[in-house]
Point group: C2
């Protein structure tokens, strides 16, 4: 039996992850010498990437493949192999993993597909594997994945050909899809940005993105992590891990809509989640979310420059057209272009050969053919305290001035380092020349002025996010409200959800303002209510079977005489009979009408991946059309709620627009804090909808509320 040699790589803190990324020995299960065999590609990849540990193959035909010994069974293989890569058919895998366990292999990459992503009935296979793993103390990446590439250790487990597609660098990738991972490599290759580690996680049966992210953020070889995800499990863990590291994290999260979710479910068994919650949560943790693959290139390049720490830019262009386009883009991203600092103008004057250049910002240096003037202008700009970065746009011919341009690139690098400010350079020339600059200098080159401006916007956004990370404190606030707890218990026991008057009681238990109301069965009770509370009133049918009351004629508003109340009562009784709505808990609700005011929506929800969140937005008939909603992870504190409320588009209405009064923003904030308390303290509550809260200058009223229990019967329509 062969001796296992110690790998030259130093072991780190996380032995588990080290054995995955820097294994001293590797077994590939499912190898055959046939050309169509996929497992043999793993062996070839590892050899080509310079893997320095031992490699063994397991397959039906013993012999050698690419010089690596093939054993006929796992039992025949040497003991103590650290990592097993499995590519046998799905049905065989529990047995394979068990045999690997018996042979002492504790780390498994299961690349085979055809599990729960293909058919939910195959979940049993996954469960069987989990049991075996637990028994043998194994950890597993996959199934349905490509595994790991580590440019440092030479481990390269994908079963496709990965030669020539990646160079070494400091960007690491976690991808839920092997194919999308490859696309990310393509983007990086085009920008001459090198890879450090890549891991394709597939169905995430055991190890998920949280554990891997933690490893990569603490990995000294990794400077930035890109994640491609189709679902996000352990959402809070990921946020916490991300928020604790200053390394840039870029997430491309797909599976955003209904169509995407349908394929994602079968692809890597991803669960769809509310896309807006994802964005809100990632932002709170200081993670950059990109909306599509396009945006990766500029995002990566954004972090090849020092951070942009303010909104003031100087734009220096050799072409007026590019200056116009750049100015549009700057305005679009709310950058400021202050007047050209006088120092810059003074320095430049003597360099200009004719008199057709206006010394302003953006600076159109159309007539300047001496390239050394540009670094002078850039340095003078960077020197100014009030200037935070430079956008430099240079159009040139590689044939006539390529050499000169290549000459100023190191100078621009120096200037960025000296002043710790970004110089986003848009170079417009031949593709070949630009590739050379990227490869030789690692200098970020932008293709269009708009791309450079967007990269600066990402840099600035990341700078602000990093400074204002606002993750909620964990553990979640305890201390449930006893009144609420007993109500929940009672309703759950009845296997139903809260009715309107019961929802009101819950929010009242948290001192939220509800106008006078009463659930009545008899006409005389309604009249009595009016005697006590006055007119006008509203009348609403309360029934388990009628959720969207107003759509079904279950609501009568503005009853301002007793006669109208009587008539409405009669109509409602008939409707209850017609719709067969009678139930034990329900009845008719009389409710005091409140005057018109600004309608807002408040809510709380338990997201399956990120846990409790609160939301605030525009109410009224336009709410569904304009979707002006802000979401935050719960619990929120006073300073967070203030920022949250001030992020809606309709904020000027709250402050008083067109001479209107300033509305009671404090009340909105208090309500949100209480909703945050309510949802974080009562795990049974899945959703609270307050729609609307009507806000006045000095108070407000909750006119409708709906509370849904997680385990209760869902009475949605």
């Amino acid at each position: 039996m062969k001796q296992i040699v110690e790998s030259p790589v130093n072991r780190r803190k996380s032995l588990c992850m080290d054995q995955f990324f820097y294994p001293r020995s590797l077994a590939v299960i499912g190898v055959s010498p046939k050309k169509s065999n996929l497992a043999r590609n793993v062996i070839r990849n590892c050899i080509e990437f310079g893997f320095r540990g031992e490699i063994f193959g397991i397959g039906k035909r013993p012999g050698r493949v690419f010089g690596v010994p093939i054993f006929e069974s796992i039992e025949a293989m040497p003991k103590g192999v650290e990592l097993g890569v499995v590519l046998t058919p799905a049905q065989s895998t529990p047995d394979v993993i068990k045999k690997l366990g018996k042979r002492g292999v504790r780390r498994i990459i299961l690349e085979t597909g055809g599990f729960s992503e293909f058919d939910m009935r195959r979940k049993v296979l996954e469960d069987e594997i989990l049991q075996i793993m637990r028994h043998y103390g194994q950890r597993l990446i996959g199934p349905n994945c490509l595994g790991i590439i580590n440019m440092k250790s030479g481990l390269c487990t994908p079963f496709a050909d990965y030669r020539y597609s990646v160079s070494a660098g400091s960007v690491s990738i976690i991808s839920q899809s092997g194919g999308m991972g490859r696309t990310l490599f393509t983007v990086m290759e085009n920008e001459a940005i090198g890879l450090n580690k890549f891991v394709s996680v597939g169905n995430k049966l055991d190890i998920g993105e949280a554990e891997l992210l933690k490893f990569l953020l603490s990995d000294p070889e990794t400077s930035l992590v890109v994640l491609y995800l189709e679902d996000i499990r352990q959402g809070r863990d990921i946020l916490r891990i991300a928020a604790n590291s200053d390394k840039p994290k870029i997430v491309l999260k797909s599976n955003r809509g209904k169509a995407g979710a349908s394929i994602a479910l079968s692809h890597t068994a991803a669960m769809a989640t509310d896309d807006k919650v994802v964005t809100a949560a990632l932002t709170q943790a200081g993670i950059i979310r990109i909306d599509n693959t396009y945006e990766l290139a500029k995002s990566l390049k954004a972090f090849q420059m020092p951070a942009l720490r303010g909104p003031n830019l100087v734009v220096i262009s050799r072409s007026g057209g590019h200056a116009v386009v750049a100015a549009d883009a700057c305005e679009n991203h709310r950058f400021h272009l202050p007047p050209l600092p006088s120092g810059v103008a003074g320095k430049l004057k003597k360099h200009l050969r004719s008199n057709v250049i206006k010394l302003k910002n953006p600076l159109d240096m159309g007539d300047v053919y001496d390239l050394t003037v540009f670094p002078v202008a850039i340095e003078e700009s960077l020197k100014q305290e009030t200037i935070h970065g430079v956008l430099f746009i240079l159009i040139y011919s590689e044939q006539t001035s390529g050499k000169d341009v290549h000459g100023i690139i190191p100078r621009l690098q120096e200037l960025m380092e000296k002043y710790e400010k970004p110089v986003a350079a848009t170079l417009i020339s031949s593709a070949e020349g630009l590739r050379k600059i990227k490869q030789q200098s690692g200098f970020p080159v932008f293709a269009f002025p708009e791309e450079a401006v967007e990269a600066l916007a990402i840099s600035y956004q990341h700078y602000l996010l990093s400074r204002h990370r606002q993750l909620p404190q964990t553990p979640l606030r305890a201390g449930s409200n006893p009144e609420v707890a007993s109500q929940i218990k009672r309703v759950k026991k009845a296997e139903r959800n809260f009715l309107l008057h019961e929802s009101f009681k819950i929010v009242e238990a948290y001192q939220l303002p509800v106008p006078g109301y009463k659930l009545v069965q008899k006409r005389s009770e309604a009249v009595e209510f009016v005697r006590e509370f006055g007119l006008p009133v509203a009348l609403k049918i309360v029934s388990r079977s009628l959720v969207h009351k107003s759509d079904r004629g279950g609501v009568k508003l503005d009853l301002d005489t007793l006669a109208k109340l009587h008539q409405a009562f009669t109509e409602m009784e008939i409707r209850i009979g017609d719709l067969n709505l009678e139930d034990q808990e329900g009845g008719l609700m009389v409710q005091k009408m409140v005057p018109p005011g600004q309608e807002v929506i408040l809510g709380a929800r338990r997201d399956p991946n990120f846990g409790p969140v609160v939301l605030f937005g525009l109410g009224g008939v336009l709410s569904e059309l304009f979707k002006d909603i802000v979401i935050r992870l719960a619990p929120i504190n006073h300073s967070q709620v203030k920022k949250m409320v001030r992020q809606v588009k309709f904020l000027p209405v709250l402050y008083g627009i067109r001479g209107g009064p300033c509305l009671d923003i404090n009340l909105i904030e208090e309500c949100l804090l209480k909703l945050s308390d309510l949802i974080t303290s009562h795990e049974e509550i899945e959703e609270v909808d307050i729609n609307p809260l009507i806000v006045y200058p000095k108070n407000g009223y909750i006119v409708d509320a709906r509370i849904i229990l997680a385990q209760g019967v869902r009475e949605r329509d």
Copy 2:
């Protein structure tokens, strides 16, 4: 004296443009043998691009430059030269153009900068040139431009080095900026899309984009025109020309905001215009507007495929991740992914080697290694009448399957032609291999699934726009309203604008509904009004000096008792005194209050570039925040106004949302038609703002109106 030889190019209809693009002879003025001389580059470019006509140089030192004879004066040059390219200092150019005129040169490209784009005072130079041109019957492109490249005639007048940057094809470009033109070439080179003609128009002193667009759209060598513009003059001409051609037209219009406008003014003397009007107008003419340089590549590739004529796509991918990303993008662009047609599923079944592929749409063919299966799946999809196009995503290694992939490309081309449906292919592999495919086949290759989906969206948008081009009839409708005409005359004579009651009179002359109102000076008149019209009423200060009444306490609403009216009257009188608002024409307006209802905005405006437009949008306090506005060129007809009204986001509110009633959409349409009449029939009116029209189920009222005259005093604040 040398004889001018006839150029081999056939002369076309437009002799003027032919002499610019296919001149038989060319004189370059301002040539010197010095390396820094720019004019000599024009000569070198023409030689390198294979210009077949005669070339002469004019410069201080006679001799030869690149083998071309240099004359020391224009007078010494042979007579009858067709095109003169001028690069002498700005101050000298009137004289140069005059001398060219005397020598019979009728076509001028004036490349020199330093005219009105640099300093408005230099406009006199431009005026002088115009006078000379008219005298000699000359036509001119520029100043401040690069002139023309014609890949067919070999004319290449830019003074920068253009070698290696362009290949020949059928896309033509009109660019207001030489630098941005070069950026467009870069994009085309990356996609292996060839250039036919390029023209840089600069300050557009004589020839502008309209004339050039007309020429290029009728040019049989041009299949598609790209325009980069910083301003659009002769807007209606451009729209008419564009709408009369089926060739795709793509516009990148910069100078959209304030910052852009400030540099653009100095760059090519562009005038800023309202960006929303630009978008509306271009769309009406069937022109594709792209928002930034990024979008050019996918837009050009969109037209390398047959048009997408419906929203139903089949997505076929080798990677599940790409299928998820593609499905997201499809949903985002409102494409449908119908269930996989049974024909496709049936054909595929026998090709699949294992059982881990679900036959659905998007189709994730992760396990298919036989590349010939893909064209089968694609053809089966294209065959279906209900499927309008295919999105095909293939990840592969150039080293192992490059040859096979290159092999199926001609098959995909054939399928597109056979079924006249697009196959948008996203190929993910090495840059080198993809470049080869593009160059050898002219087949559009997309880099990301999102890019392919966006290209299909552009194709579909263009298809719909081409079918529904809705340009207004010209000439504009005549027949001014005599009442309105006399009012305008009176107010213009007084060198002021319409006051509120006068604006009401104008809209009433067009039978628009205004609630009862009266301009009063005395308290008794107000009381008399109430006797006739009843309560409640509003009271408004009407004064030349107070435009935004409500912001300055000039409006009292809901006066529902006589006592309140009296009190308000007293307060207003004091305010008029305080603010010194007394004027001859003004006073106080009593107006009948109307009940609350849905507020909408109606308007008409005379755009400096596109002429009269009408607009419709959401009213009320949220209007400024959500900017839900639709704009159309006036005059509009019945069918256009119906479509226009149905494009606002808040449309469901008009139809009746949450059990609300359907509102009087007919009234809105009638009002818009009348506003269209009003603005097209009275050239003196620059702007009509109706904010709001309050709409009810069966009628509505204009509560405030403002009419601004073009020549009148602008009383805006």
